[in-house]
């Protein structure tokens, strides 16, 4: 194989073999996506140009390479007498201007392209939400004592009523705190089932019965890239202010997320977050500490 064809082969292998065939498959495998993930068109055209410039510099940097590269071209362009060679020459020489004209036409003719928008998934939350804590994760001693007293009463009722399930009374404040948080978590999951399940699904996987109607699919809370990667007050902001609370870089006009602070109390919204993290089987990200 001569130098000219080596250069051509190298170009084709990188431009088509690597960028079009290998790259989409490797990225698909790397992020475990159901679809092939091609490189963005703008990046591809930039790489192509860079590669062509690099090849040109490589060839032009030595007289010998210029000669090596040009010889087969001059050879090809020589006047030919054999019919087969002459035919070949005409086909190749005619194809070049035709391809140029067609490319120009193709690039400039009107096309029906799906409008796509780059969307920032996790924009910065407003300062007013920063540093908020879910008060229901750490109940006060008073709340726990009140809860234990309630449980005692219920246990007495249950002792007399056969229909009722037996009630356990926590022995100390620590057990009481755990039992109280788990009661709130169950109440939160029930609120989730009523309010959030239609879109986000009972399995917290983003495929509730309403999900099919939206362009922007509801978040899958089991995906480690959603509620597991954000601090809880961030989730509280999203639940409270919904789609319309997003900045325009996050395409608020496509989000079906309601503004829940219109309809649910602050306590209910924090409770829903307890239930939501429980149903998804993940926990919120912990705030990094500055030492």
């Amino acid at each position: 194989m001569n130098f000219f064809w080596k250069i051509v082969l190298f170009f084709v292998a990188i431009r088509y073999g690597f960028f079009e065939v290998v790259f989409p498959r490797v990225s698909q495998w790397a992020v475990n996506s159901p679809d092939l993930l091609p490189a963005p068109a703008a990046a591809m055209s930039m790489y192509t140009w860079l590669m062509m410039v690099a090849i040109a510099i490589y060839i032009l940097s030595s007289e010998e390479r210029i000669a090596d590269f040009m010889t087969p071209i001059h050879q090809f362009l020589k006047p030919q007498t054999a019919a087969a060679k002459k035919g070949m020459q005409i086909v190749v020489l005619a194809a070049i201007p035709l391809f140029g004209g067609w490319s120009y036409f193709d690039v400039n003719s009107p096309k029906m392209v799906s409008p796509t928008a780059v969307r920032i998934q996790h924009p910065t939350m407003p300062g007013s939400f920063e540093g908020m804590k879910n008060p229901l994760r750490d109940p006060t001693e008073e709340q726990v004592e009140e809860f234990i007293a309630e449980q005692k009463e219920l246990a007495e009722e249950a002792a007399e009523d056969e229909e009722m399930e037996p009630v356990t009374v926590p022995n100390n404040i620590e057990d009481g705190r755990i039992a109280l948080v788990s009661k709130w978590t169950e109440e939160g999951a029930a609120l989730y089932a009523v309010n959030c399940r239609p879109c986000h699904g009972m399995q917290a996987d983003g495929v509730g019965p309403m999900a099919v109607g939206w362009r922007l699919q509801p978040a899958n809370f089991r995906d480690p890239g959603t509620i597991a990667t954000i601090v809880e007050e961030y989730a509280f902001w999203r639940v409270s202010k919904g789609g319309p609370g997003l900045p325009s870089a996050s395409t608020p006009w496509d989000s079906a997320m309601p503004i829940w602070d219109l309809d649910l109390s602050e306590n209910e919204r924090w409770k829903i977050l307890l239930g939501e993290y429980f149903l998804a089987g993940v926990g919120p990200r912990q705030t990094e500490k500055l030492e």
Binding site: H74, R197, Q203
Partner: protein, 537 residues
């Protein structure tokens, strides 16, 4: 079987052969062992305890802690969650009135019920977990432990399968007619045969629209459908036809129903409006409609703001568009089993207790109360880039233009389309003044389907109207109301943004430019050839 000696002749040694047979056996055993772990788990004490925990983590929110179908979410759902204490199940392979087999229940838990709130638990619970929760659910009804009700004695027999073919489908259609399936399901299967039906629990029953395969509860394949009319659906007006339809005929009917259960959403989001020279059509029967590309758009219940509604009737709208130099016409089609052309504004409800509207008794879901209606929504101004008004009625700084077609106006002989504006869901639609009413329309209902044409000039003088520019992606969304489903106001279904694109012809000067480019390249090439030849000579 290939004789062993012939393999040996082909160079395969005996030990290789035995080795491969051994490996094959090994893999089969491993496979069988794996399959066995997925086999059903019995109702042991441990499995019931594990099942209860799963039920308390996942199921009770709808089905209730005591399995009575009264969980906190139950009041908002239609169909209402199953009451496990009654032992009455709809989707089975057993005779009418009988219990389901364990495999029937396992299938429902695993695959969910399309078109209802029941999800596919196989996505998050493994086989063993699903069997455990199944055993716990069975324990709610004493019938399951009584050998007298053993469902395995009542499994229906299905004749050998007949593959679908045009003949089988045609035969199936005849059986559909002969057995009067249309009396409930309608002539075209849109569920428009009968209204006011109730189920065994006293809740309203809506007859299934058979043309929407994805919503057929027991599955849309002939293998599933054949069981529905063989076993009947317990607790609903759907009887068993086991005695009336015999042998192969059941497969013909199943093949026919599977063949009409085919309407799906479009893959893309763009409606291509086609340019024509003649007048833009004003009626549904213009022949041009059939030749145009259609976009089938999904709709969800309006669950974004109070009153939220998740039992919406219209979940798909099909739209086509055509235009000439002056006007644009849209043909909008959707399934609606009943034509509701009356509207009683006094029965509209404005105060709601909960975040969602309840399925039963909160709004009148019956005929002759509210109108059928549809609205096409466009932004008033096209923004640069991806910017759009919010798809739910726009927002304060980005108003939308809605063309609201109303069946009661149509019935009274007026122009049925109101040209309106909105800038946010929290304010009512604002009708434009009489001089601004430029949209005309015509709607016809037939066999469970509305077909409505809406037409307007491409541009208007009105600054609150959408102006249709050729070659632009114009956002388009829908709001839809089914009157007999109690829908009015924000109790409706809606779509997110799709796009309509008014196709533009290729500009003629582009051909010229492309030709010029070609000439320039050819010229340069010739110069290069001359240089090359002069050099080599």
């Amino acid at each position: 079987m290939i004789p062993l000696h012939s393999l040996e002749k082909n160079g395969l040694q005996k030990y290789q052969l035995w080795l491969s047979l051994f490996l094959l056996l090994l893999f089969t055993c491993v496979g069988l062992l794996n399959a066995q772990t997925a086999e059903k788990l019995p109702a042991t004490a441990e499995n019931l305890v594990a099942g209860k925990q799963i039920y308390r983590n996942s199921c009770w929110y709808c089905h209730g802690k005591i399995g009575d179908g009264n969980g906190p979410a139950a009041d908002f759902l239609d169909p209402r969650p199953r009451d496990f204490t009654a032992g009455m199940y709809k989707i089975r392979t057993t005779k009418t009135g009988e219990l389901p087999t364990d495999e029937d229940l396992f299938r429902i838990i695993s695959k969910g019920i399309p078109g209802t709130a029941m999800p596919r638990w196989e996505l998050t619970l493994d086989d063993n977990e699903r069997w455990q929760v199944l055993q716990y659910i069975k324990a709610f009804a004493y019938e399951f432990s009584d050998p007298e009700y053993d469902p395995y004695k009542a499994v229906v027999e299905i004749p050998p399968k007949v593959e679908s073919s045009p003949e089988s489908i045609a035969q199936g259609r005849k059986i559909f007619e002969k057995n009067k399936c249309f009396e409930c399901h309608g002539l075209e299967g849109k569920g428009d045969g009968r209204d006011g039906l109730e189920d065994g629990w006293g809740f309203p029953v809506r007859v299934r629209n058979l043309t929407r395969g994805t919503n057929i509860k027991g599955g849309k394949n002939p293998e599933d459908i054949v069981y529905r009319f063989t076993t009947g659906i317990n607790g609903t007006p759907m009887p068993s036809f086991a005695k009336n339809i015999g042998g192969e005929d059941r497969w013909h009917l199943a093949n026919y129903i599977a063949s009409i259960a085919s309407t799906e959403y479009s893959e893309g989001v763009i409606l291509k409006a086609v340019k024509i020279e003649q007048t833009a059509p004003s009626t549904i029967d213009a022949e041009i409609w059939e030749t145009l590309p259609a976009l089938r758009i999904p709709l969800a219940g309006q669950v974004i703001a109070k009153p939220r509604w998740q039992n919406h009737a219209i979940d798909l709208v099909q739209v086509r568009a055509v235009f000439n130099d002056e006007e644009i016409s849209f043909l909008v089609e959707w399934d609606d089993p009943f034509q509701d052309t009356k509207h009683d504004a006094e029965q509209e409800i404005h105060e709601y207790e909960n975040t969602y509207v309840m399925a039963v008794d909160e709004v009148p879901r019956e005929r002759n109360v509210f109108r059928d209606s549809i609205a096409m929504q466009f932004p008033v101004k096209l923004k640069s880039g991806a910017k759009k008004p919010h798809f739910f009625r726009g927002d304060t700084s980005n108003p939308v233009n809605l063309w609201v077609w109303k069946s009661d106006l149509e019935a009274s002989g007026n122009n049925p389309v109101e040209d309106t504006n909105a800038n946010g869901f929290n304010k009512p639609l604002k009708s434009q003044p009489e001089t601004g009413q430029q949209v005309t329309g015509k709607g016809v209902w037939k066999n469970g389907r509305w077909r409505v044409v809406m037409k307007r000039t491409l541009t208007t003088e009105d600054r609150n109207d959408i102006q249709f520019e050729k070659g632009k992606m114009i956002p388009m969304a829908f709001n839809a109301w089914d009157g007999s489903n109690g829908e009015h106001g924000l109790i409706m279904s809606l779509s997110a943004w799709s796009f309509v694109y008014l196709d533009v012809p290729i500009p003629t000067n582009l051909y010229g430019y492309a030709f010029l480019i070609m000439l320039i390249i050819a010229g340069l090439l010739l110069l290069f050839i001359r240089y090359s030849r002069s050099k080599s000579s």
